[in-house]
């Protein structure tokens, strides 16, 4: 049996209870809603993109400790990143939680990738992987301009 404390690490409980950047952006350049119809979790991701950079990112919604912490940590690492960097972080994170082939990220992003590491415990809980990826899928949908479409998850 896996130790549950590997899944519910202190940092996850902290971000789950006190999510950062938990607010709407009044005039976002991009936004999308993520919805997991299986559990009813909902997240709305807001972005202000300036040129190629994520100037501001926030979220609102309701969900379990995992999805709330995942959204909170996502907003922390994404601020100030270029879109290419954001995509690279998601690609690696996605591979880590779904058991795909994990690629390297640029040296400048290693610290951010490290910040997301506590969430990768969900890999051992297949029913919970979608909780960790829901906000990221919403982020991706926002970039694609999928205004309010429900996003796909694992």
């Amino acid at each position: 049996m896996m130790d549950l404390r590997d899944l519910y690490q202190d940092i996850i409980l902290d971000h789950g209870r006190h999510p950062r950047n938990f607010r709407p952006i009044e005039h976002p350049t991009h936004t999308a809603k993520g919805h997991n119809p299986l559990c009813g979790d909902r997240v709305t991701v807001y972005l202000t993109i300036d040129g190629d950079k994520i100037a501001d990112v926030s979220f609102e919604g309701r969900g379990c400790a995992i999805s709330t912490a995942a959204a909170s940590l996502m907003t922390e690492v994404l601020r100030g990143k270029t879109l290419a960097e954001a995509r690279a972080l998601f690609a690696q994170f996605h591979a880590k939680v779904t058991g795909g082939e994990v690629g390297e990220v640029a040296e400048a992003l290693e610290e951010d990738a490290e910040r997301l590491e506590p969430l990768t415990g969900v890999k051992a809980y297949p029913a919970r992987v979608k909780c960790a990826t829901l906000p990221w899928h919403a982020f991706e949908a926002a970039l694609k301009g999928g205004a309010a479409a429900p996003v796909k998850t694992e």
């Binding site: 549950l4 899944l7 519910y8 559990c39 969900g63 400790a65 909780c131």
Partner: protein, 405 residues
């Protein structure tokens, strides 16, 4: 009456031998299967299987006999007057869709009303919502009161000569509340409305007598009653069924087909197009026999006693909120822990070997009304005992501890 012995019964369920230490508290979603059902279905395939109602050969006749005996067994189980009122379907969902899609367009017109309760499972809500949208009718939702009980007075006030159908659950799959079906039927009939009862949660755990209930349709699923998945039953009054047009069409449900037109069989065959779930019906009969061999009064007494024990045990856990706490209820307990999402509770419970269901339980309108995303739901079967409830309570305590650090 000797009380039921869950520990002895558990030996009849192979899943327990193959999953030592399992605490299974999700029978409300689907019950485990006794060896009598598993082996009986296999034996039927080994000895007596062929397509039904077609062959002139003996094997097909034996298969047909088994299939039709299952129909008669189901009639007896529900105390229905006529075996031709028993229609085999995939499950309660299909049973309700059959009525909504066959009876509905024929008898519901613009301005009419259909009444459901806010406790309904999506399967007894969405088919009516769609029928109303299609016909320009109105879906009226009868509320539960503040304590989670069905509000008979509010319900009565919603009825009128426009009401054509009342679709109501027998036992709530979210709160376990038992609805006063006899009274509901009486009030609805007074206005000339029909009543369909969703019996999914009632069938495996209490005596059900459609004549005593007085309802017009009764829908249930085999898999929640220790039978196979993929088989269910619609019971309907014969004169109502006889006035309903075919739903799905094809083989087995016709008397004559020409290039110009088709004549259809009488019920029940009119509503059973195509090769039915033959082994499913055989398995359902074995499951109903299994229930009868224990006795439905004994099952109800056992689950009622265990429900009371669970309410008492869970109520003592701080920060635990039990839904519809004061209601007369059976075998289904929904709760939340302050500040902890049901999905997180479910994962922790699973790590302690306790299988419960978490989420909205296909009852989003009720979740919205209560302002919650979902609940943790424990539901009982004949194999559960006080040890299971103690293990559940201990796992819930462990969950509180983990999230309070």
């Amino acid at each position: 009456m000797k009380p039921l012995d869950p520990k002895a019964l558990r030996r009849e369920f192979p899943v327990y031998q193959n999953n030592p230490g399992l605490v299974f508290l999700d029978s409300g979603a689907s019950a485990q299967k006794p060896a009598a059902v598993i082996d009986g279905v296999a034996e039927f395939y080994r000895r007596d299987y062929a397509n039904v109602h077609r062959g002139v050969y003996q094997l097909s006749q034996r298969s047909t006999d088994h299939f039709e005996e299952a129909r008669e067994g189901t009639r007896a189980f529900l105390n229905a007057p006529d075996v031709n009122e028993i229609i085999f379907v995939r499950g309660a969902t299909e049973a309700i869709n059959l009525v909504a899609q066959s009876w509905g367009p024929e008898f519901v017109k613009a301005g009419d009303e259909i009444v459901v309760s806010d406790l309904e499972h999506h399967s007894n809500f969405v088919p009516w919502q769609m029928l109303c949208q299609r016909m320009g009718a109105r879906l009226v939702v009868a509320p539960t009161d503040a304590s989670g009980g069905f509000d008979l007075a509010a319900f009565e006030a919603l009825l009128s000569s426009r009401t054509k159908m009342v679709a109501i659950t027998h036992v709530s799959n979210v709160t376990g509340a038992i609805l006063p079906v006899e009274r509901i039927v009486e009030l609805a009939h007074r206005k000339g409305a029909l009543v369909l009862v969703d019996g999914c949660q009632a069938i495996p755990r209490m005596p059900v007598d459609v004549r005593a209930l007085g309802c017009d349709f009764y829908a249930c699923s085999g898999h929640k009653a220790y039978g196979p998945s993929g088989i269910g039953v619609l019971w309907g009054r014969y004169e109502l069924l006889a006035a309903m047009p075919p739903w799905q069409t094809g083989g087995g449900m016709i008397t004559q087909v020409t290039l110009e037109k088709t004549d259809f069989q009488e019920p029940p065959h009119r509503f059973e197009a195509g090769t039915p779930d033959i082994s499913g019906a055989v398995g359902l009969k074995l499951a109903l026999d299994f229930i009868e061999s224990i006795g439905r009064d004994r099952i109800r007494d056992h689950e009622e006693e265990l429900t009371g024990y669970a309410i008492d045990r869970l109520s003592r856990i701080p920060d635990l909120n039990l839904l519809a706490a004061g209601q007369r209820r059976l075998s289904v307990l929904s709760f939340n822990l302050d500040g902890i999402h049901p999905h997180d509770v479910g994962t922790v419970l699973d790590q302690h070997g306790v299988a419960v269901r978490v989420g909205h339980h296909c009852a989003q309108p009720l979740m919205d009304k209560l302002g919650i995303a979902g609940t943790v739901r424990a539901s009982l079967g004949v194999y559960n005992d006080r040890d299971d409830i103690d293990r559940l309570a201990a796992a819930v305590e462990a969950c509180r501890e983990m999230f309070s650090r």
